[in-house]
Amino acid sequence: MSELLSNKEAATQAVVDFMTKKSKTKSKFYFNDFQDIFPDDKLRDIKKVVNLLVTDGVLEYWSSGSTTMYGLKGGGKQHSSEGEA
Protein backbone atom coordinates (compact mmCIF):
# COMPACT_ATOMS: atom_id res chain seq x y z
CA MET A 1 0.00 0.00 0.00
CA SER A 2 1.38 3.41 -0.94
CA GLU A 3 2.28 6.03 1.65
CA LEU A 4 -0.60 8.22 0.49
CA LEU A 5 -3.21 5.47 0.79
CA SER A 6 -1.97 4.26 4.16
CA ASN A 7 -2.22 7.76 5.64
CA LYS A 8 -5.95 8.13 6.17
CA GLU A 9 -5.97 11.90 6.58
CA ALA A 10 -3.86 12.47 3.49
CA ALA A 11 -5.89 9.92 1.52
CA THR A 12 -9.15 11.57 2.54
CA GLN A 13 -7.85 14.97 1.53
CA ALA A 14 -6.62 13.64 -1.81
CA VAL A 15 -10.03 12.14 -2.55
CA VAL A 16 -11.88 15.30 -1.54
CA ASP A 17 -9.52 17.48 -3.58
CA PHE A 18 -9.86 15.23 -6.61
CA MET A 19 -13.64 15.24 -6.49
CA THR A 20 -13.92 18.93 -5.71
CA LYS A 21 -11.63 19.80 -8.61
CA LYS A 22 -13.87 17.87 -10.98
CA SER A 23 -17.14 18.94 -9.38
CA LYS A 24 -17.94 21.46 -12.11
CA THR A 25 -18.22 18.68 -14.67
CA LYS A 26 -19.32 15.71 -12.62
CA SER A 27 -20.47 14.82 -9.15
CA LYS A 28 -20.50 11.03 -9.37
CA PHE A 29 -17.45 8.88 -9.94
CA TYR A 30 -16.88 5.28 -10.89
CA PHE A 31 -14.72 3.22 -8.56
CA ASN A 32 -12.02 3.00 -11.24
CA ASP A 33 -11.59 6.78 -11.03
CA PHE A 34 -9.90 6.36 -7.64
CA GLN A 35 -7.02 4.69 -9.42
CA ASP A 36 -6.09 8.14 -10.78
CA ILE A 37 -5.59 9.30 -7.18
CA PHE A 38 -3.75 6.19 -6.03
CA PRO A 39 -2.01 4.91 -9.17
CA ASP A 40 0.46 2.73 -7.27
CA ASP A 41 -2.13 0.83 -5.25
CA LYS A 42 -4.15 -2.27 -5.85
CA LEU A 43 -7.86 -1.74 -6.32
CA ARG A 44 -8.67 -4.04 -3.41
CA ASP A 45 -6.61 -1.82 -1.08
CA ILE A 46 -8.19 1.32 -2.49
CA LYS A 47 -11.60 -0.22 -1.92
CA LYS A 48 -10.97 -0.63 1.81
CA VAL A 49 -10.07 3.03 2.24
CA VAL A 50 -12.84 4.35 -0.01
CA ASN A 51 -15.48 2.35 1.80
CA LEU A 52 -14.21 3.71 5.12
CA LEU A 53 -14.75 7.19 3.71
CA VAL A 54 -18.37 6.25 3.00
CA THR A 55 -18.78 4.96 6.56
CA ASP A 56 -17.23 8.16 7.88
CA GLY A 57 -19.69 10.25 5.90
CA VAL A 58 -17.12 11.87 3.59
CA LEU A 59 -18.45 10.05 0.53
CA GLU A 60 -21.81 8.54 -0.35
CA TYR A 61 -22.91 5.85 -2.75
CA TRP A 62 -25.20 6.53 -5.65
CA SER A 63 -26.77 3.50 -7.27
CA SER A 64 -28.89 3.18 -10.37
CA GLY A 65 -29.68 -0.35 -9.29
CA SER A 66 -27.25 -1.86 -11.78
CA THR A 67 -24.23 0.40 -11.29
CA THR A 68 -22.82 2.06 -8.19
CA MET A 69 -20.96 5.35 -8.17
CA TYR A 70 -19.33 7.48 -5.50
CA GLY A 71 -19.79 11.15 -4.74
CA LEU A 72 -19.00 13.66 -2.03
CA LYS A 73 -21.72 13.49 0.59
CA GLY A 74 -24.38 16.05 -0.19
CA GLY A 75 -23.00 16.83 -3.62
CA GLY A 76 -24.73 16.47 -6.97
CA LYS A 77 -28.25 16.74 -8.29
CA GLN A 78 -29.66 13.51 -6.97
CA HIS A 79 -29.39 14.63 -3.39
CA SER A 80 -31.59 17.67 -3.82
CA SER A 81 -34.20 15.57 -5.57
CA GLU A 82 -34.65 13.38 -2.55
CA GLY A 83 -36.84 15.74 -0.61
CA GLU A 84 -34.23 18.10 0.85
CA ALA A 85 -34.91 21.15 -1.31
Binding site: F31, K47, V54
Partner: protein, 441 residues
Protein backbone atom coordinates in the same frame (compact mmCIF):
# COMPACT_ATOMS: atom_id res chain seq x y z
CA UNK B 1 -63.91 2.57 -6.06
CA UNK B 2 -60.41 2.83 -7.47
CA UNK B 3 -58.52 6.05 -6.78
CA UNK B 4 -57.39 6.35 -10.41
CA UNK B 5 -59.11 5.33 -13.63
CA UNK B 6 -56.91 2.77 -15.40
CA UNK B 7 -58.49 1.84 -18.75
CA UNK B 8 -55.17 0.94 -20.40
CA UNK B 9 -54.12 -1.29 -17.51
CA UNK B 10 -57.57 -2.88 -17.38
CA UNK B 11 -57.01 -4.09 -20.92
CA UNK B 12 -54.03 -6.12 -19.73
CA UNK B 13 -56.38 -8.18 -17.59
CA UNK B 14 -58.44 -9.28 -20.57
CA UNK B 15 -55.88 -11.76 -21.95
CA UNK B 16 -55.66 -15.45 -21.07
CA UNK B 17 -52.72 -15.07 -18.70
CA UNK B 18 -52.60 -14.14 -15.03
CA UNK B 19 -52.11 -10.39 -14.83
CA UNK B 20 -49.93 -8.37 -12.49
CA UNK B 21 -52.58 -5.65 -12.78
CA UNK B 22 -55.12 -7.93 -11.09
CA UNK B 23 -52.58 -8.68 -8.36
CA UNK B 24 -51.92 -4.98 -7.77
CA UNK B 25 -55.64 -4.19 -7.66
CA UNK B 26 -56.14 -6.97 -5.14
CA UNK B 27 -53.31 -5.62 -2.98
CA UNK B 28 -54.69 -2.06 -3.24
CA UNK B 29 -58.03 -3.34 -1.98
CA UNK B 30 -56.47 -5.29 0.88
CA UNK B 31 -54.63 -2.16 2.01
CA UNK B 32 -57.76 0.01 1.66
CA UNK B 33 -59.85 -2.36 3.82
CA UNK B 34 -57.00 -3.17 6.22
CA UNK B 35 -58.92 -5.94 7.90
CA UNK B 36 -55.72 -7.10 9.63
CA UNK B 37 -55.36 -3.71 11.35
CA UNK B 38 -51.82 -3.10 10.07
CA UNK B 39 -50.20 0.13 11.25
CA UNK B 40 -49.02 1.23 7.82
CA UNK B 41 -45.75 3.13 7.89
CA UNK B 42 -45.93 4.22 4.26
CA UNK B 43 -49.01 5.69 2.52
CA UNK B 44 -51.94 3.28 2.62
CA UNK B 45 -52.83 4.12 -0.98
CA UNK B 46 -49.29 3.47 -2.32
CA UNK B 47 -50.45 0.62 -4.53
CA UNK B 48 -53.32 2.66 -5.96
CA UNK B 49 -50.87 5.42 -6.82
CA UNK B 50 -48.57 2.81 -8.34
CA UNK B 51 -51.40 1.78 -10.68
CA UNK B 52 -52.05 5.45 -11.39
CA UNK B 53 -48.48 6.30 -12.34
CA UNK B 54 -48.23 3.20 -14.52
CA UNK B 55 -51.42 4.18 -16.33
CA UNK B 56 -49.99 7.66 -16.87
CA UNK B 57 -46.74 6.18 -18.24
CA UNK B 58 -48.74 4.08 -20.70
CA UNK B 59 -50.71 7.16 -21.72
CA UNK B 60 -47.60 9.32 -22.18
CA UNK B 61 -45.41 6.57 -23.59
CA UNK B 62 -42.61 7.49 -21.20
CA UNK B 63 -41.60 6.56 -17.69
CA UNK B 64 -42.36 8.66 -14.64
CA UNK B 65 -39.67 7.06 -12.48
CA UNK B 66 -36.39 8.83 -11.84
CA UNK B 67 -33.17 6.94 -12.25
CA UNK B 68 -31.39 5.66 -9.13
CA UNK B 69 -30.61 7.31 -5.84
CA UNK B 70 -28.38 7.49 -2.79
CA UNK B 71 -30.53 5.49 -0.37
CA UNK B 72 -29.07 2.53 1.46
CA UNK B 73 -28.44 1.12 4.91
CA UNK B 74 -25.43 2.14 6.94
CA UNK B 75 -22.30 0.28 5.90
CA UNK B 76 -23.84 -1.30 2.81
CA UNK B 77 -23.46 -0.13 -0.78
CA UNK B 78 -26.10 -2.46 -2.17
CA UNK B 79 -29.39 -4.15 -1.41
CA UNK B 80 -31.48 -1.00 -1.71
CA UNK B 81 -32.35 0.63 -5.03
CA UNK B 82 -33.65 4.18 -4.88
CA UNK B 83 -36.77 4.80 -6.90
CA UNK B 84 -38.60 8.13 -7.01
CA UNK B 85 -41.65 9.22 -8.93
CA UNK B 86 -41.40 12.44 -10.94
CA UNK B 87 -45.12 13.18 -10.42
CA UNK B 88 -45.25 13.29 -6.62
CA UNK B 89 -48.19 15.70 -6.48
CA UNK B 90 -50.37 13.44 -8.58
CA UNK B 91 -49.17 10.26 -6.89
CA UNK B 92 -47.90 11.10 -3.39
CA UNK B 93 -48.10 7.46 -2.31
CA UNK B 94 -45.20 6.56 -4.58
CA UNK B 95 -43.08 9.69 -4.24
CA UNK B 96 -40.49 7.38 -2.67
CA UNK B 97 -40.86 3.82 -3.84
CA UNK B 98 -37.56 2.11 -3.15
CA UNK B 99 -36.77 -1.52 -3.91
CA UNK B 100 -35.09 -3.77 -1.37
CA UNK B 101 -33.32 -6.99 -2.27
CA UNK B 102 -33.27 -9.74 0.32
CA UNK B 103 -30.87 -12.67 0.03
CA UNK B 104 -32.93 -15.78 -0.53
CA UNK B 105 -32.20 -18.89 1.52
CA UNK B 106 -30.05 -21.47 -0.28
CA UNK B 107 -32.17 -23.67 -2.51
CA UNK B 108 -35.08 -21.33 -1.73
CA UNK B 109 -36.09 -23.40 1.27
CA UNK B 110 -38.60 -21.46 3.31
CA UNK B 111 -40.67 -22.17 6.34
CA UNK B 112 -44.16 -20.74 6.41
CA UNK B 113 -43.14 -18.89 9.56
CA UNK B 114 -40.29 -17.23 7.68
CA UNK B 115 -42.58 -16.11 4.87
CA UNK B 116 -45.24 -14.86 7.28
CA UNK B 117 -42.71 -12.84 9.26
CA UNK B 118 -41.22 -11.37 6.09
CA UNK B 119 -44.57 -10.36 4.62
CA UNK B 120 -45.73 -8.98 7.97
CA UNK B 121 -42.71 -6.65 8.06
CA UNK B 122 -43.29 -5.69 4.45
CA UNK B 123 -47.04 -5.09 4.81
CA UNK B 124 -46.33 -2.69 7.66
CA UNK B 125 -43.20 -0.94 6.41
CA UNK B 126 -43.59 -1.28 2.65
CA UNK B 127 -46.20 -1.66 -0.06
CA UNK B 128 -46.69 -5.37 0.51
CA UNK B 129 -45.72 -5.99 -3.14
CA UNK B 130 -43.09 -8.68 -3.61
CA UNK B 131 -41.37 -10.31 -6.54
CA UNK B 132 -40.52 -13.91 -5.66
CA UNK B 133 -37.97 -14.16 -7.23
CA UNK B 134 -36.29 -11.44 -9.24
CA UNK B 135 -34.07 -12.16 -12.21
CA UNK B 136 -31.07 -11.99 -9.89
CA UNK B 137 -32.77 -14.75 -7.91
CA UNK B 138 -33.38 -12.97 -4.65
CA UNK B 139 -36.50 -11.82 -2.85
CA UNK B 140 -37.52 -8.43 -4.19
CA UNK B 141 -39.54 -6.12 -1.98
CA UNK B 142 -41.02 -3.35 -4.12
CA UNK B 143 -41.86 0.04 -2.70
CA UNK B 144 -40.95 1.70 0.56
CA UNK B 145 -39.91 5.14 1.78
CA UNK B 146 -36.45 6.31 2.84
CA UNK B 147 -37.17 6.41 6.62
CA UNK B 148 -38.33 2.78 6.57
CA UNK B 149 -35.17 1.31 5.07
CA UNK B 150 -33.09 1.13 8.24
CA UNK B 151 -36.14 -0.10 10.17
CA UNK B 152 -36.68 -2.95 7.74
CA UNK B 153 -32.98 -3.81 7.73
CA UNK B 154 -32.98 -3.91 11.54
CA UNK B 155 -35.97 -6.22 11.66
CA UNK B 156 -34.60 -8.50 8.94
CA UNK B 157 -31.22 -8.88 10.58
CA UNK B 158 -32.25 -8.93 14.24
CA UNK B 159 -35.56 -10.78 14.10
CA UNK B 160 -35.05 -13.02 11.10
CA UNK B 161 -31.27 -13.44 10.90
CA UNK B 162 -31.72 -12.41 7.29
CA UNK B 163 -29.33 -10.32 5.21
CA UNK B 164 -29.95 -8.01 2.28
CA UNK B 165 -28.91 -9.13 -1.17
CA UNK B 166 -26.65 -7.49 -3.73
CA UNK B 167 -27.31 -4.69 -6.19
CA UNK B 168 -25.23 -2.16 -8.10
CA UNK B 169 -21.56 -2.83 -8.84
CA UNK B 170 -21.44 -5.64 -6.34
CA UNK B 171 -21.36 -9.38 -6.20
CA UNK B 172 -25.06 -10.14 -6.58
CA UNK B 173 -26.97 -12.50 -4.36
CA UNK B 174 -25.62 -15.96 -5.22
CA UNK B 175 -28.34 -18.38 -6.35
CA UNK B 176 -28.36 -22.17 -6.36
CA UNK B 177 -30.49 -25.21 -7.14
CA UNK B 178 -31.76 -27.66 -4.52
CA UNK B 179 -28.67 -29.77 -5.08
CA UNK B 180 -27.98 -32.84 -3.03
CA UNK B 181 -30.58 -31.84 -0.46
CA UNK B 182 -33.22 -33.40 -2.70
CA UNK B 183 -31.82 -34.33 -6.08
CA UNK B 184 -30.18 -37.63 -7.01
CA UNK B 185 -28.42 -35.98 -9.96
CA UNK B 186 -26.44 -33.57 -7.78
CA UNK B 187 -22.70 -33.87 -8.41
CA UNK B 188 -21.83 -31.53 -5.55
CA UNK B 189 -23.54 -29.83 -2.64
CA UNK B 190 -24.60 -26.60 -4.34
CA UNK B 191 -26.26 -25.30 -1.16
CA UNK B 192 -23.05 -25.67 0.84
CA UNK B 193 -20.90 -24.01 -1.82
CA UNK B 194 -23.39 -21.16 -2.32
CA UNK B 195 -23.59 -20.59 1.43
CA UNK B 196 -19.81 -20.67 1.86
CA UNK B 197 -19.10 -18.24 -0.96
CA UNK B 198 -21.89 -15.92 0.20
CA UNK B 199 -20.25 -15.70 3.62
CA UNK B 200 -16.71 -15.65 2.29
CA UNK B 201 -17.37 -12.74 -0.05
CA UNK B 202 -19.50 -10.53 2.20
CA UNK B 203 -17.34 -7.53 1.42
CA UNK B 204 -17.82 -7.98 -2.32
CA UNK B 205 -21.56 -8.47 -1.78
CA UNK B 206 -22.14 -5.35 0.27
CA UNK B 207 -19.41 -2.88 -0.66
CA UNK B 208 -19.27 -2.08 -4.37
CA UNK B 209 -15.91 -1.89 -6.12
CA UNK B 210 -16.43 -3.88 -9.30
CA UNK B 211 -16.70 -2.28 -12.75
CA UNK B 212 -20.27 -3.57 -12.95
CA UNK B 213 -22.50 -6.34 -11.64
CA UNK B 214 -21.11 -9.84 -11.05
CA UNK B 215 -23.21 -12.95 -10.56
CA UNK B 216 -22.49 -16.42 -9.22
CA UNK B 217 -24.98 -19.20 -9.82
CA UNK B 218 -24.75 -22.85 -8.90
CA UNK B 219 -26.22 -25.85 -10.68
CA UNK B 220 -25.39 -29.17 -9.09
CA UNK B 221 -25.74 -31.07 -12.37
CA UNK B 222 -25.71 -30.32 -16.11
CA UNK B 223 -29.51 -30.19 -16.22
CA UNK B 224 -28.87 -26.60 -15.16
CA UNK B 225 -32.21 -25.97 -13.42
CA UNK B 226 -30.96 -22.54 -12.33
CA UNK B 227 -29.79 -21.83 -15.91
CA UNK B 228 -26.51 -20.65 -14.47
CA UNK B 229 -24.84 -21.09 -17.86
CA UNK B 230 -26.94 -18.25 -19.24
CA UNK B 231 -27.59 -16.10 -16.19
CA UNK B 232 -24.30 -15.67 -14.36
CA UNK B 233 -20.86 -14.23 -14.91
CA UNK B 234 -19.48 -17.29 -13.17
CA UNK B 235 -21.41 -20.51 -13.36
CA UNK B 236 -20.66 -23.64 -11.33
CA UNK B 237 -22.15 -26.71 -12.98
CA UNK B 238 -21.83 -30.13 -11.43
CA UNK B 239 -20.19 -32.86 -13.48
CA UNK B 240 -18.30 -36.15 -13.16
CA UNK B 241 -15.26 -37.54 -14.92
CA UNK B 242 -15.65 -41.31 -14.62
CA UNK B 243 -18.26 -43.52 -16.27
CA UNK B 244 -22.04 -43.28 -16.11
CA UNK B 245 -23.22 -46.15 -13.93
CA UNK B 246 -25.43 -48.58 -15.85
CA UNK B 247 -27.91 -51.07 -14.42
CA UNK B 248 -28.40 -53.33 -17.45
CA UNK B 249 -31.43 -55.09 -15.93
CA UNK B 250 -33.15 -51.75 -15.48
CA UNK B 251 -32.26 -50.71 -19.04
CA UNK B 252 -34.07 -53.81 -20.30
CA UNK B 253 -37.06 -53.06 -18.10
CA UNK B 254 -37.35 -49.70 -19.89
CA UNK B 255 -36.97 -51.42 -23.27
CA UNK B 256 -39.65 -53.94 -22.32
CA UNK B 257 -41.96 -51.06 -21.35
CA UNK B 258 -42.29 -52.31 -17.77
CA UNK B 259 -44.90 -50.09 -16.09
CA UNK B 260 -42.63 -49.61 -13.08
CA UNK B 261 -40.00 -48.05 -15.36
CA UNK B 262 -41.72 -45.14 -17.10
CA UNK B 263 -39.40 -43.12 -19.35
CA UNK B 264 -38.51 -39.65 -18.10
CA UNK B 265 -39.57 -40.83 -14.65
CA UNK B 266 -43.18 -40.58 -15.82
CA UNK B 267 -42.92 -36.85 -16.48
CA UNK B 268 -44.81 -37.12 -19.79
CA UNK B 269 -47.32 -39.78 -18.82
CA UNK B 270 -50.39 -37.58 -19.39
CA UNK B 271 -50.42 -38.47 -23.08
CA UNK B 272 -49.95 -41.67 -25.05
CA UNK B 273 -46.58 -41.33 -26.75
CA UNK B 274 -46.52 -44.97 -27.87
CA UNK B 275 -44.15 -47.63 -26.58
CA UNK B 276 -40.73 -46.54 -25.38
CA UNK B 277 -38.13 -46.75 -28.16
CA UNK B 278 -34.57 -46.68 -26.83
CA UNK B 279 -33.10 -46.17 -30.31
CA UNK B 280 -35.25 -43.16 -31.07
CA UNK B 281 -35.59 -41.61 -27.64
CA UNK B 282 -32.14 -42.19 -26.17
CA UNK B 283 -29.44 -43.36 -28.61
CA UNK B 284 -30.68 -41.21 -31.49
CA UNK B 285 -30.78 -38.09 -29.33
CA UNK B 286 -27.32 -38.52 -27.81
CA UNK B 287 -25.44 -35.43 -29.07
CA UNK B 288 -22.14 -37.28 -29.52
CA UNK B 289 -23.66 -40.61 -30.54
CA UNK B 290 -21.52 -42.35 -27.95
CA UNK B 291 -24.08 -45.00 -26.99
CA UNK B 292 -25.18 -48.29 -28.47
CA UNK B 293 -27.62 -51.01 -27.42
CA UNK B 294 -26.78 -54.51 -28.64
CA UNK B 295 -27.76 -57.94 -27.36
CA UNK B 296 -29.73 -56.38 -24.53
CA UNK B 297 -26.65 -54.52 -23.35
CA UNK B 298 -26.23 -50.75 -23.29
CA UNK B 299 -22.69 -49.52 -23.89
CA UNK B 300 -21.46 -45.95 -23.45
CA UNK B 301 -18.19 -44.62 -24.80
CA UNK B 302 -17.66 -42.37 -21.79
CA UNK B 303 -14.62 -40.60 -23.27
CA UNK B 304 -16.97 -39.08 -25.83
CA UNK B 305 -19.82 -38.35 -23.44
CA UNK B 306 -20.45 -34.63 -22.92
CA UNK B 307 -22.64 -35.28 -19.86
CA UNK B 308 -25.72 -33.72 -21.45
CA UNK B 309 -27.87 -35.72 -19.00
CA UNK B 310 -30.43 -36.74 -21.64
CA UNK B 311 -29.99 -40.50 -21.25
CA UNK B 312 -29.98 -40.24 -17.46
CA UNK B 313 -33.10 -38.07 -17.48
CA UNK B 314 -34.86 -40.53 -19.77
CA UNK B 315 -33.92 -43.70 -17.91
CA UNK B 316 -33.22 -42.52 -14.36
CA UNK B 317 -33.62 -45.97 -12.79
CA UNK B 318 -31.07 -47.48 -15.16
CA UNK B 319 -28.42 -44.78 -15.46
CA UNK B 320 -26.74 -42.85 -12.68
CA UNK B 321 -24.14 -40.10 -12.62
CA UNK B 322 -20.55 -41.21 -12.05
CA UNK B 323 -18.80 -41.29 -8.68
CA UNK B 324 -15.80 -39.04 -9.36
CA UNK B 325 -17.72 -35.81 -9.00
CA UNK B 326 -16.94 -32.12 -9.02
CA UNK B 327 -17.95 -29.10 -11.03
CA UNK B 328 -17.11 -27.20 -14.18
CA UNK B 329 -16.67 -23.43 -14.05
CA UNK B 330 -18.00 -21.34 -16.92
CA UNK B 331 -17.58 -17.61 -17.23
CA UNK B 332 -18.95 -14.63 -19.08
CA UNK B 333 -22.68 -15.17 -19.56
CA UNK B 334 -24.69 -11.99 -19.76
CA UNK B 335 -27.78 -10.28 -21.15
CA UNK B 336 -27.59 -8.39 -24.44
CA UNK B 337 -26.75 -4.76 -23.55
CA UNK B 338 -23.34 -4.78 -25.30
CA UNK B 339 -22.15 -7.38 -27.85
CA UNK B 340 -25.41 -9.36 -27.62
CA UNK B 341 -26.35 -12.07 -25.17
CA UNK B 342 -23.65 -14.58 -24.32
CA UNK B 343 -23.70 -18.02 -22.77
CA UNK B 344 -20.91 -18.94 -20.38
CA UNK B 345 -17.61 -20.20 -21.82
CA UNK B 346 -15.98 -23.21 -20.21
CA UNK B 347 -12.94 -22.11 -18.20
CA UNK B 348 -12.36 -25.00 -15.81
CA UNK B 349 -13.55 -28.36 -17.17
CA UNK B 350 -13.33 -30.10 -13.79
CA UNK B 351 -12.51 -28.92 -10.31
CA UNK B 352 -13.00 -30.70 -7.02
CA UNK B 353 -15.64 -29.23 -4.70
CA UNK B 354 -13.97 -29.77 -1.37
CA UNK B 355 -15.41 -28.15 1.72
CA UNK B 356 -12.57 -29.56 3.88
CA UNK B 357 -10.12 -27.03 2.43
CA UNK B 358 -12.68 -24.22 2.13
CA UNK B 359 -13.06 -24.82 -1.59
CA UNK B 360 -9.60 -23.35 -2.19
CA UNK B 361 -9.40 -24.62 -5.78
CA UNK B 362 -12.57 -22.66 -6.57
CA UNK B 363 -11.79 -19.46 -4.66
CA UNK B 364 -8.39 -19.29 -6.39
CA UNK B 365 -10.10 -19.17 -9.79
CA UNK B 366 -12.65 -16.61 -8.59
CA UNK B 367 -10.05 -14.24 -7.16
CA UNK B 368 -7.78 -14.41 -10.20
CA UNK B 369 -10.72 -13.57 -12.43
CA UNK B 370 -11.77 -10.68 -10.17
CA UNK B 371 -8.26 -9.24 -10.00
CA UNK B 372 -8.08 -9.18 -13.81
CA UNK B 373 -11.57 -7.78 -14.31
CA UNK B 374 -11.12 -5.08 -11.65
CA UNK B 375 -7.83 -3.97 -13.20
CA UNK B 376 -8.75 -4.23 -16.86
CA UNK B 377 -12.52 -3.97 -17.02
CA UNK B 378 -13.95 -0.69 -18.26
CA UNK B 379 -16.73 0.99 -16.35
CA UNK B 380 -19.97 -0.95 -16.88
CA UNK B 381 -18.16 -3.73 -18.71
CA UNK B 382 -19.27 -7.26 -17.83
CA UNK B 383 -16.74 -10.05 -17.54
CA UNK B 384 -18.05 -11.61 -20.76
CA UNK B 385 -17.40 -8.36 -22.62
CA UNK B 386 -13.85 -8.13 -21.27
CA UNK B 387 -13.22 -11.70 -22.43
CA UNK B 388 -14.50 -10.72 -25.88
CA UNK B 389 -12.29 -7.61 -25.91
CA UNK B 390 -9.02 -9.07 -24.62
CA UNK B 391 -9.52 -12.68 -25.64
CA UNK B 392 -10.07 -16.00 -23.93
CA UNK B 393 -6.32 -16.64 -24.12
CA UNK B 394 -5.74 -13.66 -21.85
CA UNK B 395 -8.21 -15.12 -19.37
CA UNK B 396 -6.28 -18.39 -19.40
CA UNK B 397 -3.07 -16.46 -18.70
CA UNK B 398 -4.43 -14.54 -15.74
CA UNK B 399 -5.98 -17.62 -14.20
CA UNK B 400 -2.89 -19.74 -14.83
CA UNK B 401 -4.95 -22.38 -16.61
CA UNK B 402 -3.42 -24.27 -19.53
CA UNK B 403 -5.37 -24.40 -22.76
CA UNK B 404 -7.21 -27.71 -23.10
CA UNK B 405 -9.30 -29.33 -25.81
CA UNK B 406 -12.42 -28.64 -23.76
CA UNK B 407 -11.83 -24.91 -24.23
CA UNK B 408 -12.24 -25.21 -27.99
CA UNK B 409 -15.76 -24.53 -29.21
CA UNK B 410 -14.92 -25.03 -32.88
CA UNK B 411 -11.76 -25.31 -35.04
CA UNK B 412 -10.02 -21.97 -35.50
CA UNK B 413 -10.78 -19.99 -38.64
CA UNK B 414 -7.64 -17.80 -38.52
CA UNK B 415 -4.58 -19.64 -39.89
CA UNK B 416 -2.06 -17.29 -38.23
CA UNK B 417 -0.61 -18.03 -34.83
CA UNK B 418 0.96 -15.20 -32.89
CA UNK B 419 3.52 -16.64 -30.53
CA UNK B 420 4.91 -14.88 -27.53
CA UNK B 421 8.65 -14.99 -26.96
CA UNK B 422 8.30 -17.09 -23.82
CA UNK B 423 6.28 -19.65 -25.74
CA UNK B 424 9.07 -20.29 -28.28
CA UNK B 425 12.10 -22.43 -27.42
CA UNK B 426 15.13 -20.11 -27.37
CA UNK B 427 13.01 -16.98 -27.62
CA UNK B 428 13.47 -14.53 -30.52
CA UNK B 429 17.30 -14.81 -30.57
CA UNK B 430 18.98 -17.52 -32.63
CA UNK B 431 22.47 -18.78 -33.34
CA UNK B 432 23.13 -17.48 -36.86
CA UNK B 433 26.15 -19.75 -37.32
CA UNK B 434 24.06 -22.77 -36.48
CA UNK B 435 21.29 -21.50 -38.74
CA UNK B 436 23.65 -21.02 -41.71
CA UNK B 437 24.73 -24.63 -41.46
CA UNK B 438 21.35 -25.55 -42.83
CA UNK B 439 20.30 -22.43 -44.77
CA UNK B 440 22.43 -20.56 -47.33
CA UNK B 441 22.45 -16.80 -47.62
Amino acid sequence: MAKHETPLLDQLESGPWPSFVSDLKQQAEVRAKNEAGVEFQIPQDAVEDLLGVLELSYKHGRTHWKHGGIVGVFGYGGGVIGRYCDQPKLFPGVEHFHTMRVAQPCGKYYTTEYLRTLTKIWDMRGSGITNMHGATGDIILLGTTTPQIEEIFYELTHNMNQDLGGSGSNLRTPADCLGSSRCEYACYDSNALCHFLTNNYQDELHRPAFPYKFKFKFDACPNCCVASIARSDMSFIGTWRDAIKIDQDAVNKYVENDAAYPPNAGAHKGKDWGPFDIEKEVLGLCPTKCMKFENKTLKIDDANCTRCMHCINTMPRALKIGDDRGCSILVGAKAPIVDGAQMGSLLVPFVEVNSDNDYEAITAVIENVWDWWMEEGKNRERLGELIMRQGFQKLLEVTGIDAQPQHVAYPRTNPYIFWKEEEVAGGWTRDVVEYRKHHLR
